[in-house]
Structure formats: C-alpha cells, structure tokens
Amino acid sequence: MSSLAMPQPDGATLSRRGEIVADMRVIVPGEGVVDTVNEMRAFESDGLTAYRQLPLVVVLPETVRQVSRILKYCSERNIRVVPRGSGTSLSGGALPLQDAVLLVMSRFNRILEIDFPNRCVVAQPGVTNLGITVAVQEDGFYYAPDPSSQIACSIGGNVAENSGGVHCLKYGLTANNVLGIEMVLMNGDVVRLGGRHLDADGYDLLGVMTGSEGLLGVVTEVTVRILKKPETARALLIGFPTSEQGGQCVADIIGAGIIPGGMEMMDRPAIHAAEAFVHAGYPLDCEALLIVELDGPGVEVDHLIAAVEAIALRNGSTTCRISASEQERLAFWAGRKAAFPAVGRISPDYYCMDGTIPRKELPRVLAGMRDLSDRYGLRVANVFHAGDGNLHPLILYDANKPGELDRAERFGADILRLCVQVGGVLTGEHGVGVEKRDLMPEMFSQADLDQQMRVKCAFDPHHLLNPGKVFPQLRRCAELGRMHVHGGQMAFPDIPRF
C-alpha cells in the first residue's frame, strides 16, 4: 500500500510543531495533549491497519468550546486537522497526517439526556453505538443501526460514516435515525442542525454531514431516535444448491411485501469457514445459505415465517430450519457474525470489500468474482447483506508472501469496478476514506466530483479538515468556483425554445 499519495506535508507547520503543541496545551489543559512518539503510536492507524502514520500531535478536547478554539486556531494558521472517533473505520477515514493535529473525540463520552416521551437520546459523539442501546434497554428501547463494530465505534463516527448494519433495510441507516447534531466548522463556528423535531429547517445540511467522513465539520453532539424493541424475533436458516436460487428467494420474499429485520447470505467458502470455526450446524452441501430474521409481535412473526418457508421451498431450498428458541436463533447468527474471524482462521490475512449491487446482479457478480479469483490466484469468501445488496467479499492473502497484498488490492479494486458496472456503488457502509479514494472516478465524472468538492469549499474553503480522504485529487476552491460561460455559444432566444 505504498502507492497511496497523501497531501504533501506543510513544512512551515512541521517546523512550528513545538509552538503548536504548547498552544494546544493552553487550549486543552491537563492530560488532553499527547505528543510523544510512544503515546502517539496508539493513534497511528484506524481499522484499516495497512496504513500507518504518526500525527503532528494528538489532542483530546473535553468541551465544545475547546473544539471550537482548536479549529479556529488551526484555521488561522493553516494547520490541517484529522478528526477521529473510536478509530474503527475500515477505509482509513481517521488515518493521521504527518502535519495534522489529530482531534480525538473520545472524551466526549457522556449521554446527556434520555427522552422517552419524544423517543430520543442526546449523546456526546464519543459514546459508543452500543452504549446508546445499553442506556435505554432496561426500558425496552434500542438504537436501530448496528454496525458490526458497535461495541467500540462511536456515534459521532457513525454520523461521519453514515454507518449501517444488518437491519438497514427495515430500520434505515444512521442518516434515517439521526434527528439532530451540533457541530463545529473549521472556522470555529458552532452550528446546530435539527434537534428533537423532525426535518431540519433550510437546506438538508444534516443529510450532507451524515456520511461526509470528517471532511465538513466536527460533530460535538448527536440526537438519535430510539425504537421500542420488537416483542419477538425468529430466524430461518435456508440452504440453496445455487446462488441464483438464493437470490430469487430474496427477491420473492420482498415481492411478497415482506421486509425482514435482517436478511443475510453467505457463499460456500464463507459457510465452510464459519462452520469450521463456530460449529453453528450450517449445512455444508449448499452454495448459498440465507438467514432471514423476522421481528415484531409473535403473531406477525409466525405468519411471516410460514410465508418465507413456502417461498424458500418454491425456490428449491435443500434445507430450511426455523429457530424454535432464542438460543437457536442466536446459533443461526453465530456463524454469520463470526464470518470475518472465521475467514481469518483459514488465511493469514484477509481484505474486506464493501460494494453494493442491485440484488438481481448477485449471480453475475459472484461468477465474475470467481473468474477474478482464478486470475489473481487468491481465494475469496462472500457475506452479503442480501436485503439491501451490500456485498462484503473477503479476499484471502498472505502479507508475508511478496506481492500478495498488492494482488489482493488489485483484486479488490476489480471487484468494486464490477459492482459499479452492474449499477452498484463502491462502498455501501465502510466509506471511501483513503482506501477507495482513487477509485472514485470509476463511479463519478470529474463534474460530479467537482460539485461534491464545492460543497466541501462551503464548509472548509482551504481543505484543512481531513484532506487526502474521499477525493482523488483536491482542487483549490478558487479554481472550482470559476464559471465556464457558455452564453456566447448558446444563441438562446428570449422565446420558448423547446
């Protein structure tokens, strides 16, 4: 991963490091500034561990005022800033820069208010995703988006990445579950978007902030919607001789008007890896294994279980088990939830991809992946959020074998190109970060990217906040603002033309 080009470090900033560290200590007194190499090591990468870089200095503010002062200070002195939550990004979104302050939000770790009448929780951004559910579960409530990293990932990071999880099809992404945020702009301005009411006023800046990967502002408070926990949940474990049949079963379930709480598919290599690891009782003689979870009142779940079972049989399922107890339901999920570490057991390293495709293209994409697997000489296992088309191919490689990492990366890039070719996208939930940055032109034209960067210019005109992420090439805002006038060529009369 040596080929990754990051913005050229600013020599003036590097030469003033001592002064900047001292100034940070004035703004954040106490233990909130970390500047020794040993201590900064803990922050040198995020969940995408292949990339490492020590930051200029690590700052852990405790108050909104401190965040505002840090950003204003850096803005005035042209110092770059990389925000970080829990550092679980799988796309390098929180990868430090040598000349940038790493702004770590982990001390913002308090739940500020639980509001049951309005069914929302107000939390500081460093609270973990699961922490919100834990705070309300005694009263029977939960926070719906549940990324796999929910025990560690922060709610502020969830906003930055628009995190998903296995329940997205029914319950939505982070963007659909956040009611409001408070954030600090690069110039130090503190802005509130939304609140406990529905729909923020004016432009939907909350919608743009969600999933902006820390390039637009630093979130300092989040208001999320909580839901009452469904009365029951039961799951079906269904095996198919081909992925086509599995895919058709998914389409037919949705065609019958059923939106399951979760619907996950695994291919043969993933089934075998998972079974060998957790002994969940998965059938080993099928090409596609589907887990369908239905949640709601018992009477509804029973009704839908019968409907899904009939659809599965019609599509030629070879096994169909229905969970009879909570224990059995969890056993069905155990293999799927352990799929990543299970693959980790059969290969020294694996590289997790995150494309989304129109579901009907699954057989074509799986076939294409098999061809690529042969060409690159690397194995691949697939887990698939079947309901929403989000595919996680796991490419198996050995970093100790020369050239394998490079091959795995090229293999992964080809998979994502395939996803885009069939009408899908580069990333469903892990973000672009640095990992998929240089693939953005596969999906967007320069004009598309320019308009996205212009939005960046409205928030951060000097590209100081998390530069080097998302966009393959940063263009100066002054250049982006120039208008190419077409008027002269367009002899457009003052009369109806079309």
């Binding site: 049951f116 309005n118 509130r192 406990r196 004016g202 949705i254 580069l426 999906m443 308009q451 998302v470």
Partner: protein, 400 residues
C-alpha cells in the same frame, strides 16, 4: 416572460447554460402546485419541467424507481399501487390547502419540497427515500449523485441536499427513489374526548409501545368533522396500525389494553382509516378555499401542545397535530400571521421550525416564510447556495 419547456435533460442543461451565461434568473416549475409557498420568485423567465416526464426504471423486486423530474406524482403512485407498493413517506398533496386542484404535483417537486405525510413519524420524508439524482446546477453544469441502491456511502449525499431546497441549488432532471411494499391492511384506533395535553401523553404511550403505530395524530374539538372518516366533532386522538392482517388485529388489541382506561375507544376499519389519514395528510381541516394564514410547525412532540396553549392566550388560532403532536398545523383566525409571536413561542418551547405554508401574497412578501436561521448557520447555507448557484439564477428569493 418566456417559458422554456424542456423535454430532455439536455434541454435543461442548454437552458441553464444559457441562463448562467446571461446571468438571467429563472423560476423552476413543475405543475406549479406549490407555487404559493415561499416568497414570489423574481424572475423574467420560467423553466417548466412538466414536459420532462417518464418513468425510466421500475424494478419492484429491487424496491427502486427512477423517473424524469416532471413526471406526475399521481402517475407514479398509481403504478406503485398496481404493484402493491408505495412511497413510504406518504407525500402530501398541497392542492386542497392552497386552493388548487387535487392530484397535481411532480416527483421533482416532491423532492424539492421534501414532502412527507403522517408516516413521516416512523418512515421518514422524501429525504429518507431519495437514492440518487441527476441534476443541473445554477452554474449550468450537469452532475449526478447517489445511485440506485439503498446502501451507499460513496461521496457526499447531494441527493439529500436537493430535498427541501425548493429549486434554489440545482434543477433535478432525474430522480431515483426507494419504494416499499404497501401494507396489506390498516386499522385506526380513535381515543375520544382528550384534551391536547392528555392526547400528547396517550400518543407518547402508544408510540413507546410495541404496537408499531405508523401514524399518530390529535384532532381537537371540531376538527374531526372537517375530515373524511365520519369521526364527528368530539376530540379524537387517532393511531394508525398497518401491516399484515393478523398482526394489525393483535396490535390494535395491544393498544386497546394500553389506552382503555384513558377514554372511549373507536375502531376505524381500513376504508375509513385510509380516507381519514389522506385528509390529515393534506391538511383538509384548513382547506377552506380562503387565505387565512396557515403555519406548519415541527417541534418536539411533548412540547407542541404547550406552545399552542401559550399561543391561544395571545391569538385566535385553530390547531391540530400530526406526528405524535410534533407537527402542528395552525390556522390564524384573525387573518394576521403573527410570525414573531409564533416563532418566539416555538423557540421558548424547545425549538423547531415554523413555515408559513399559506398566506396572501401581501403577507408573505412582508415575512420570512421559512424559519430564519441563526447567523452562523445562515452564513453556511449561503455559502452552500453560492457553490451551486453563484449568480443566483435559480428561483431567486424563493427561500428568502
């Protein structure tokens, strides 16, 4: 005034390249069904998108639909209904309230106004269902954002930014929405005779239960008789349950147990329920053909009735509530919008925003129709506008 009537996205691009080159403002129109909302646009020319029509992709099993921006919303909803699907955000029809006819409005307009309805409470607004757009900015440049799949975090979500921008950032030429199965059936439970405050508590109780109520509204004394559903004039707190038959029946029983002690209950079967909620959605109680100012206010559900009670001390208002109370529809009976009082009280009771959805042109011209924003946020919004439309040619003045 010239009206440009493009029939292809390329025509829209040509028109806006011309307008951007000349620096000439244009009013962006679909059917004009919501033209009475916001400040009157100051523009010499209009871009009429009602000829830019056609459903370009509909794959029911993939839960996705794409259409040209000028496609009538009614046509799309009819096609979805044939396939037992729907836009879950239940877009409001402004025709009745604004004195126009019913069933007008385009899919592009639904996005530009970020429409929603009673199901906003549980399923979101247009912003929550838009997956992708192709658009032409005020710079006269075509761009796309998003895609056709539900789960997508590739690049900034500029599609959401189009939602509620009232045509002031870019002109969408093609939109792609998520669609969802329509419920097999529905039943509404009406709790009768509650004061606003007790109704708020009952709605919070119902929404916090596992009955999965999809919409909750409160109709104070006299409102119900102005709606379909034969409710009569007594206060009615209405809770809608949707889904598969056995599930709906079970959840209605759950609600009856929960609310039985609060007051008399009445069950409305699917037909009455649908007619009733359609009228709630379209603000029918105030669809009186007149011009008395009507406010649409979004606030925290637990605060809204307090705000209304305080407002009643200062002004004659007629009010009803949707979204568990969090959406307040207010008609100002004396004819004055009382913007300062209304907005001041919204701020005092926890904040939110108030939009003057209906008022005479004279009143609208004197008041900010949309909620004024604090300086830092207003400055940010202005910078965003400038990045899309530096010469201010798209719907100038519409949002203030």
């Amino acid at each position: 005034m010239a009206v440009l009537s493009p029939s292809s996205p390329d025509d829209v691009l040509a028109a806006l390249q011309w307008a951007a080159g000349e620096g000439t403002p244009v009013e962006i129109l679909g059917h004009g069904s919501k033209r009475g909302i916001g400040w009157p646009v100051q523009a010499q020319h209009a871009l009429d998108l009602s000829g830019l029509t056609g459903i370009t992709l509909y794959e029911p099993a993939e839960l996705v639909l794409s259409a040209r921006a000028g496609t009538p919303l009614a046509d799309i909803e009819a096609l979805l209904a044939q396939n037992r699907q729907q836009f879950a955000f239940e877009p409001m029809d402004h025709g009745p309230l604004l004195g126009g006819s019913e069933g007008r409005g385009t899919i592009g307009g639904a996005l530009a106004a970020n429409l929603s309805g009673p199901r906003r409470l549980t399923a979101g607004a247009a912003r929550d269902h838009i997956l992708g757009v192709q658009a032409v900015s005020g710079r006269g440049e075509a761009f796309k954002a998003g895609g056709r799949v539900v789960k997508n975090v590739t690049g900034y979500d500029l599609s959401k930014l189009m939602a509620g921008s009232w045509g002031t950032l870019a002109v969408a030429t093609d939109v792609t929405f998520k669609v969802l199965p329509a419920a097999e059936t529905e039943t509404t439970l009406a709790l009768r005779g509650q004061l606003d405050e007790d109704a708020a508590a009952a709605m919070a109780l119902a929404m916090g239960s596992s009955a999965e109520v999809s919409a909750a509204a409160h109709l104070p004394e006299g409102i119900g008789r102005r709606l379909a559903g034969d409710l009569g004039g007594d206060p009615a707190t209405i809770l809608r349950v949707e889904g598969f038959g056995p599930s709906v029946a079970y959840r209605i029983e759950t609600l009856k147990t929960l609310l039985g002690a609060a007051g008399p209950l009445e069950e409305l079967p699917a037909g009455r329920s649908r007619a009733l909620w359609r009228d709630v959605r379209d603000c029918k109680p105030f669809a009186d053909g007149g011009e008395k100012p009507v406010w649409r206010i979004s606030m925290a559900p637990s605060q809204a009735h307090r705000m209304v009670m305080a407002l009643r001390m200062q002004a004659a208002v007629d009010a009803f509530y949707d979204w568990q109370g969090g959406l307040v529809w207010l008609r100002m009976e004396a004819g004055d919008a009382e913007a300062d009082i209304v907005r001041g009280l919204v701020r005092q009771f926890g904040g939110g925003h108030a939009t003057l959805v209906r008022a005479s042109a004279d009143i609208r011209a004197r008041l900010p129709v949309f909620e004024p924003q604090p300086p830092a946020l207003a400055a940010l919004a202005a910078r965003v506008k400038e990045q899309f439309d530096p010469k201010g040619i798209l719907n100038p003045g519409r949002m203030g």
